[in-house]
Amino acid sequence: MIVGARHAVPLPANYSIQPTLNHTPMPDIVDIAVGADNFKTLVTAVQAAGLVETLKSPGPFTVFAPTDEAFAKLPAGTIQTLVQNIPQLTRILTYHVVAGKLTQAELAKLGVVTSIEGSPIPIDTTEGFEVKNATVVAAEYRSGQLA
């Protein structure tokens, strides 16, 4: 599951104060993302980090996926710098991934989930649907076989 989000900042996860990401839960992730129009940057990043295999492995996963629009808001060079620090890129990307298939309702009930990177991700649904401080903008994309 992939959740599209409005803005993206490639900041790591291990801080009390933390970067934002935006997301959309969804199933077979890589394929769906490749298929969708607005995750091109994400896909490039995942490929650069060598995470394709991980995400293709038996899941299920929920991914809070930043949209291209979100990436585009980042200052020029951000991605370029990140691609030069693969371990960090990996950490950031895996921060956006939660094990298990979680729907919006389930997420709302949980309040906080743990990313496969290891850090907690707070979920807030008091107004709209916010994962960390990012607003979820897109519907859920589900993968047929994993959903």
Partner: protein, 434 residues
């Protein structure tokens, strides 16, 4: 001078914070420093004057961390070899990873000229320039490094400091130490006796590397700002701040590592694969340790344990440039004098003219530029605060009032740190503070 800025959105009532005006300015996308042409001219000029010695600092810090390493008598550690002067900056020049500055990647020409001729404007052997104290005060850079090292554990940023205590780190360091002292039974014997002493030295070296990698980024950022100001494409203080915010984001992910070279062999004490990043492992600790905390200048506070002038907890240390009193600069016991002196050599002409017409002109330029530096660092801190806000909270133009309120809480919490009487935030609001 400062026009009252109303909150950007009518949805929020005005702040009741002591620094409400500044908070409203931040909410409108401004800086803690008022947006005046005079402020802009001053801070850009000082960024440039700061960047030149910084170009030396980062090179030398890396040189010490990578090459000088554990030399017990490093008498010549400030004598940069050509190799490090030519070391291409990763963020300038044609081969840059990300070209922040359009200038060259090797050492800045003004720096090279200064190293060659000095203030005395005479070509002399390096050693004489050094002995005549006609040189960059590298001691200042080391002091910043020590401040990061000493506050490291307590600050809670990142995992860098914790990594220094891991077994993995110790193993890496051990390999490097043994390689470095190969064929030196005396030092190896000492190492066998007091391994912890050597390890602690290596930890310090890791911080050398950390700060060097941090400043490697900042120098081109400042150079670029100066160039843009000169060509007229940077016209307000918020623009200058935004440039810094963007820079912070762009470079945030740059790896922080520590490599040591013994001969041609490279020993990775902190490998890049640990994934330590510039923003969290270098920039934020640097801001906290140097801008906010450091330690009280020995010339201004008593260290007498019974006098209790030095706080018991490291978190209560507030002696950084945002709090420091610049007026005693030039007196005994005031470490920032070293930096001020370094910047004095590289002031752009417009700033020299500006100072000449004020206060005691050339006579007290050291203090005048120190206060300008303080202003400029309030702008940098504003950039950090805005960057954190972007990262952790919501856009300034977010339509949701709850989000805006969260932003305000954040700004208020940040500005609470400047409620201390010694904070200079109030002063930098006034142009007459110089």
């Amino acid at each position: 001078m400062t026009q009252t800025i109303s909150p950007p959105s009518q949805t929020l009532p005005p702040s009741t914070h002591e620094f409400a005006e500044i908070i409203h300015r931040l909410e409108a996308g401004g800086s803690m420093l008022p947006d005046t042409p005079e402020n802009l001219m001053q801070i850009i000029g000082i960024y440039k004057a700061y960047a030149v010695p910084m170009d030396f600092y980062w090179r030398d810090l890396l040189y010490i961390a990578e090459r000088v390493f554990l030399n017990p008598l490093p008498a010549f550690k400030y004598f940069l070899p050509q190799e490090y002067l030519d070391l291409p900056n990763h963020y300038a020049g044609d081969g840059a990873d990300l070209r922040v500055w359009r200038g060259r990647a090797t050492a800045h020409p003004e720096l090279l000229e200064f190293m060659e001729k000095g203030e005395m404007n005479r070509r002399m052997p390096k050693l004489l320039h050094h002995l005549w104290h006609d040189r960059i005060n590298m001691e200042f850079a080391e002091e910043c490094m020590r401040s990061m090292l000493w506050h490291g554990r307590d600050m809670g940023w990142g995992k860098f400091d914790a990594y220094l205590d891991s077994e993995e780190y110790k193993t890496n360091a051990d390999r490097a130490i043994r390689a470095y002292f190969k064929g030196n039974p005396a030092m190896l014997g000492l190492y066998a006796l007091f391994p912890e002493m050597f390890l602690e030295q290596v930890r310090e070296m890791s911080y050398y590397s950390n700060l060097g990698l941090f400043w490697e980024v900042m120098a081109p950022v400042f150079f670029e700002m100066s160039d843009r100001y000169d060509e007229g494409s940077m016209t307000t203080v918020p623009e200058a701040m935004d440039f810094l915010v963007n820079g912070i984001f762009a470079i945030a992910g740059r790896p922080i590592y520590h490599h040591v070279y013994v001969g041609d062999e490279c020993y990775e004490i902190i490998p890049k694969s640990k994934g330590f990043t510039w923003l969290y492992e270098a920039a934020l600790p640097y801001v906290e340790a140097v801008f906010y905390r450091t330690s009280p200048f020995r010339g201004t506070k008593s260290y007498n344990a019974q006098a209790k002038q030095v706080p018991d907890d490291q978190k209560d240390f507030h002696y950084g440039i945002l709090y420091a009193d610049v007026f005693p600069v030039g007196t005994a016991g005031i470490p920032p004098t070293l930096l001020m002196q370094d910047m004095l050599h590289f002031l752009p002409p417009y700033l020299v003219d500006y100072y000449k017409q004020r206060c005691r002109g050339e006579d007290d330029m050291l203090i005048q530029l120190g206060i300008t530096f303080q202003r400029s660092m309030y702008n940098v801190t504003s950039a950090v605060i805005q960057a954190l806000r972007t990262a952790l909270l919501y856009p300034l133009d977010d339509p949701n009032p709850r989000h805006l309120m969260a932003n305000r809480r954040f700004f208020e919490a940040q500005l609470d740190r400047f409620k201390r009487p010694e904070a200079r935030l109030r002063d930098v609001q006034r142009q007459e503070y110089r």
